[in-house]
């Protein structure tokens, strides 16, 4: 268990025009679960590989447990990594796979057996110990890969998209199991994923990355309520936030087929701006009644997706597609013209130029301040 500190860490690949990772700053708490999330090519895996020592960082310093690990080879960093492809050793049994690192460190045989069996017990793979990886299912291989990491009792766990090769149901199960395992072992963990649901459900803090640059590092709720910019707002949350380009006049944001009144707080941050990006999450949009509402978006329903517990509809407002989440009992047909409404305090406002957030939403849920 250890604190990992990344200070101004950057990575320049030889011959590359721009930095793969730029000025990454993050200091973990002891035993924290950090998720690195972003679209492919955003530098999240590179960042993890730099912590592992599989890639050299070219700028800044990385400290693990207070020790600068620049130039330290991977095996001396006291970390364990779970690979996306699991990278199990195909010719070794599950037991040997898990025991391999301990054998290399010349642990006593009894000690190795105990550790392997304890880990197998925790992961529920004791009956599989004498099988070869090829005789295991995807989920079982995943557990073995985790087992190989935990027998080491390392200071830091690194997990590189460990669930992406599993089917949807298993992924949800393993997600919960990894979270439980982390709580049990309390080891500082870095977890890379491109799936924002995984990030939100697992991370204590989430670092959202784009094009090698960290956009925001914060708790899941803060990312949802107070995204740093348009990118984070759109990346976090499913279905994604709707964005409308609006003109501001007389405390009202308007555009083709929509008109949204701003409350006092939003009028204040809007200031003298004439244009704004308005962000509305699908779950904050409701079907409006017949009464003409000042707070409304009008358009034709293009897609209706009943999901059972709720229904998603896509409405064309002006030339923007807006997704709204409605109750399943509200009968809406494709081709209907509907009016949607949103509470004034659920509007996100972004600066048109810088794309930075002017104001987020306040859910009333008390959240621990971001460290």
């Amino acid at each position: 268990m250890a604190v990992v500190a990344l200070k101004n860490v950057g990575k320049q690949y030889p011959g590359a025009a721009s930095l793969a990772v730029e000025d990454f700053n993050l200091t973990t708490h002891d035993g924290e679960f950090i998720v690195l999330v972003g679209p492919s090519g955003c530098g999240k895996t590179t960042t993890m590989r730099m912590i592992a020592g599989l890639e050299e960082h070219t700028q800044g310093t990385i400290e693990i447990g207070g020790r600068d690990v620049t130039g330290v080879v991977p095996k001396d960093r006291d970390i364990a990594m779970v690979f996306q492809s699991y990278a199990l050793y195909p010719h070794m049994s599950v037991r040997d796979n898990m025991a391999f690192s301990l054998k290399l460190k010349k642990y006593a045989k009894a000690d190795i057996n105990k550790r392997v069996e304890d880990a197998a017990e925790v992961l529920g793979i004791t009956p599989l110990l004498d099988r070869k990886p090829r005789a295991l299912s995807g989920g079982q291989r995943q557990r073995v890969a985790l087992g190989r990491a935990i027998v080491r009792q390392p200071q830091v766990f690194l997990m590189d998209e460990p669930l992406s090769n599993l089917d949807a149901k298993l992924r949800v199960d393993m997600r919960a199991e990894i979270t439980k395992l982390h709580r049990k072992l309390g080891v500082t963990t870095f977890y890379v994923t491109h799936d924002q649901t995984e990030a939100m459900t697992m991370g204590q803090r989430i670092a959202v990355m784009k094009d090698g640059v960290v956009q925001q590092i914060d708790s899941p709720n803060n990312l949802y309520q107070q995204p740093a910019n348009v990118f984070v707002g759109g990346f976090i949350g499913t279905p994604a936030m709707n964005f409308l380009d609006a003109a501001v006049a007389n405390g009202t944001a308007t555009g083709p087929d929509f008109s949204l009144a701003l409350d006092a707080a939003r009028r204040e941050v809007a200031g003298t701006r004439e244009r704004l990006h308005v962000g509305i999450r699908p779950e904050h949009l409701h079907l409006a009644g017949n009464e003409a509402d000042a707070q409304s978006l009008k358009g034709e329903v293009e897609v209706v997706e009943p999901l059972g517990a709720l229904t998603m509809i896509q409405v064309r407002v002006g030339d923007t597609k807006v997704t709204a989440q409605i109750e399943p009992h509200q009968q809406v047909e494709m081709g209907d013209t509907v009016a949607l409404t949103c509470a004034a305090d659920k509007l996100y406002l972004f600066d048109t130029e810088s794309q930075d957030t002017l104001i987020g939403i306040d859910s009333g849920v008390a959240d621990q301040p971001a460290a």
Binding site: F83, Y89, F100, L104
Partner: protein, 318 residues
């Protein structure tokens, strides 16, 4: 009296059997031309493999010496007895095995070393790799002549020149170390093959396994011993099997250089059979020796390869 339900059931069953029969008919109709299309390949195999093998077996039990055409008829086990009592046959057998085993060791060892070298990135790798592979494209007869006249020759050879330049007496390699010379030539020819196949094997090794083992605390030797070698198991198996088959039948390199000599020092089984047939004209005894060679090849195919496969069981790991 059957009710409606039974009738319905019965008709379904008849219907089902009818579809099954139709399917069988279609299957049969599909298979008929397949037989004819396969026939040329099967006939080819019969003519070129089974027939010569059967004829060799037949001759090995006949009195059949071109120098003594009057003696014919069944020989019983005589040809085999002659063979059994011929010390040259046994020495040829020994030479054959020695060539196979030593050449295997040299080509696989050197091939692996070169494959590891060429797996790394360095300037001019493409050119160097092409040059390293070149010997494999030289015909065995040409290999023999190049080595005999340009490298091993005691007067004009490169090695002789090298020795004289350094102030030593030149060595007549083919006369003094005939077997070592032949093993050198064959290994020179076949190392590129081993290298190429092993290099392909190395290139198919997933990078993340090496990274995993590095994080697990392995040094270079551990990586090689616990990941690279097991991964190469299946490929090694192919190399050993193919090379064994070719080394067992080495002939051109011997024919063009030592002619099996001095004496019978470099006579292997193929060369022994050749001499029996085309020098002594004893078809019967040579056929018996050929059957011996077939048995030897099969022993190799079964035992050696099983042994290799058993030791490097990575084959079953994938």
């Amino acid at each position: 009296m059957p009710n409606d339900r039974d009738l319905l059931l019965a008709s379904t069953i008849t219907h089902d059997t009818e579809t099954a029969r139709a399917a069988a008919r279609r299957e049969k109709a599909r298979r008929a031309p397949a037989k004819w299309l396969l026939a040329p390949a099967v006939i080819f195999l019969l003519v070129w493999m089974i027939v010569p093998l059967a004829m060799t077996g037949y001759y090995s039990f006949r009195n059949y010496n071109l120098m003594m055409p009057s003696i014919t008829g069944w020989a019983g086990w005589t040809n085999y007895k002659i063979l059994w009592g011929d010390p040259t046959f046994w020495s040829a057998l020994g030479v054959t095995l020695l060539i196979v085993v030593v050449c295997l060791a040299v080509t696989v060892g050197l091939g692996l070393a070169l494959a590891l070298l060429f797996h790394r990135n360095f300037v001019g790798r493409g050119v160097a790799r092409t040059l390293a592979v070149a010997p494999f494209f030289v015909m065995p007869v040409v290999t023999g002549l190049i080595w005999k006249n340009m490298l091993f020759h005691p007067a004009y050879g490169l090695l002789a020149w090298l020795f004289r330049t350094l102030g030593f007496e030149p060595i007549d390699w083919l006369a003094q170390f005939p077997l070592a010379s032949i093993i050198t030539m064959i290994s020179w020819e076949w190392t590129p093959f081993a290298m190429l196949v092993l290099l392909t094997g190395l290139q198919s090794l997933p990078e993340d396994q090496l990274e995993a083992v590095r994080l697990d605390g392995a040094n270079k030797w551990h990586e090689f011993r616990h990941i690279v070698i097991p991964h190469l198991g299946q490929v090694l198996y192919v190399v050993v099997m193919l090379e064994s088959i070719f080394f067992l039948t080495s002939f051109a390199e011997i024919y063009t250089t030592t002619s099996g000599g001095p004496g019978t020092a470099s006579t292997n089984l193929p060369y022994y059979i050749f001499q029996g047939t085309f020098v002594q004209y004893d078809i019967g005894v040579s056929s018996a020796a050929a059957i011996g060679a077939v048995i030897l090849a099969n022993i190799f195919a079964i035992f050696l390869i099983r042994f290799v496969a058993g030791n490097l069981n990575a084959g079953e790991a994938r």
